[in-house]
Symmetry: C2
Subunit: 202 residues, 2 copies
DNA sequence: ATAATGAATGAATATATTTTCATTATAAAA
DNA sequence: TTTTATAATGAAAATATATTCATTCATTAT
């Protein structure tokens, strides 16, 4: 008898994860077109053939990563629906992102992937879904800001502009982190939320 | 006799400009690898062959655009060396950028090109120069912020963090503008400079 | 040892993209 | 109307990249 089902399953999962990590890193940094399957296989430390045993095409692999990113967005959306204090939600969330940026590239890569997605022509259903979720998250955030404004926690600027600027600036940090790497500096929470929160706010 | 030198020159300049505009738009949006010379020729409304009459390779074309972007950076660096009031320099500059974003895609495309450049392996001399200029501009800006802080115009946070966040957030706005296009919202000057400038500052 | 099972390989093939270049088109002057 | 200089074309050749698949490898139980 050969290996057990579980052993094979574990092997498959292990290589899938290696492909996953290598691919997200490369796609985030270089984009879909500039990343060759050769690069991915090399990054994952496997052969090209094995990659094709796991994913029918390079695009399929990309789409799986997009779905994974969408799951991340769903979590954020859920979080922002909580009844907690808006200012605390935003502070906590922003802090986590800044820490993620400090720690490693994973989260920044995810954000970049989201953008890469928007640039492809005839988007797959996965990409379309991701884009819809981005929209939902944006609206959610604008509403959360309004709620905070009503509680006197946030500045009285246009909530949509603020929500838009919030995500754009985080995207910018992610992009900068991925592209210039070593010269990246994590800005303080205070700087990143200054447009939203008064200086004297506890 | 055929056309005059001047006439031929004008023709060449005209098509060069068409190639230039089409290419910057496509490179900014899709990246170098995802943009085919076919796309560029189509965008410029010319044949592929003609494109190759003007640029030896696709990479040469890209490098020319990079040099063009570097010239833009040089102008900014020069401006930030002025003796004018730091707060006014930053306000004026930021306002211009926000207006550029409103007006058309040209400036956002330039910023995106700068990022695309950082992602290519073995960068051309043009790209290396652009990256050096980015570094110079960043340092310049950090010093300008320090100067403003000494004048009591800016908040007392870490100047490098602020300069870094400033460019990252503008990059983020540019990227968002290019990728999601129609859903783009221009944030107010107040929002974009809130991390830098006290609310009550005249 | 060896048979069985599925992972893993990488050279061969298919496909896409870039680059070349022989040819054609255009406008002005003779 | 013919000549001339150069712009402009696009199909063919060169190159790069994605995908397939016949073959090998590794592990385990008998």
């Amino acid at each position: 008898m050969p290996r057990t089902k579980e052993q094979y399953e574990a092997m498959r999962i292990a290589t899938r994860n290696r492909i996953h990590s290598a691919a997200i890193k490369l796609f985030a940094k270089k984009g879909f077109a500039a990343t060759s399957v050769h690069d991915i296989a090399e990054g994952a430390g496997i052969s090209i053939g094995l990659m094709y045993r796991h994913y029918k095409t390079k695009e399929d692999l990309f789409n799986e990563l997009v779905s994974y990113a969408a799951t991340g967005l769903e979590k954020v959306i859920e979080r922002f629906q909580s009844d907690e204090s808006p200012i605390e939600l935003i502070r906590q969330f922003t802090l986590e992102i800044l820490n993620d940026f400090e720690k490693d590239d994973a989260f920044a890569e995810l954000l970049m992937l989201m953008n890469q997605s928007s640039t492809l022509e005839d988007p797959s259903p996965q990409i379309q879904y991701l884009n819809e979720q981005s929209e939902v998250m944006f609206n959610q955030t604008a509403r959360l800001i309004e709620k905070g404004q009503n509680l006197g926690q946030f500045k009285q600027e246009n909530a949509s502009e603020m929500a838009f600027y919030y995500f754009a600036s985080l995207q910018g940090l992610a992009m900068t982190k991925i592209t210039i790497r070593k010269r990246y500096i994590t800005p303080s929470l205070k700087i990143v939320t200054a447009f939203l929160i008064e200086d004297d706010q506890d």
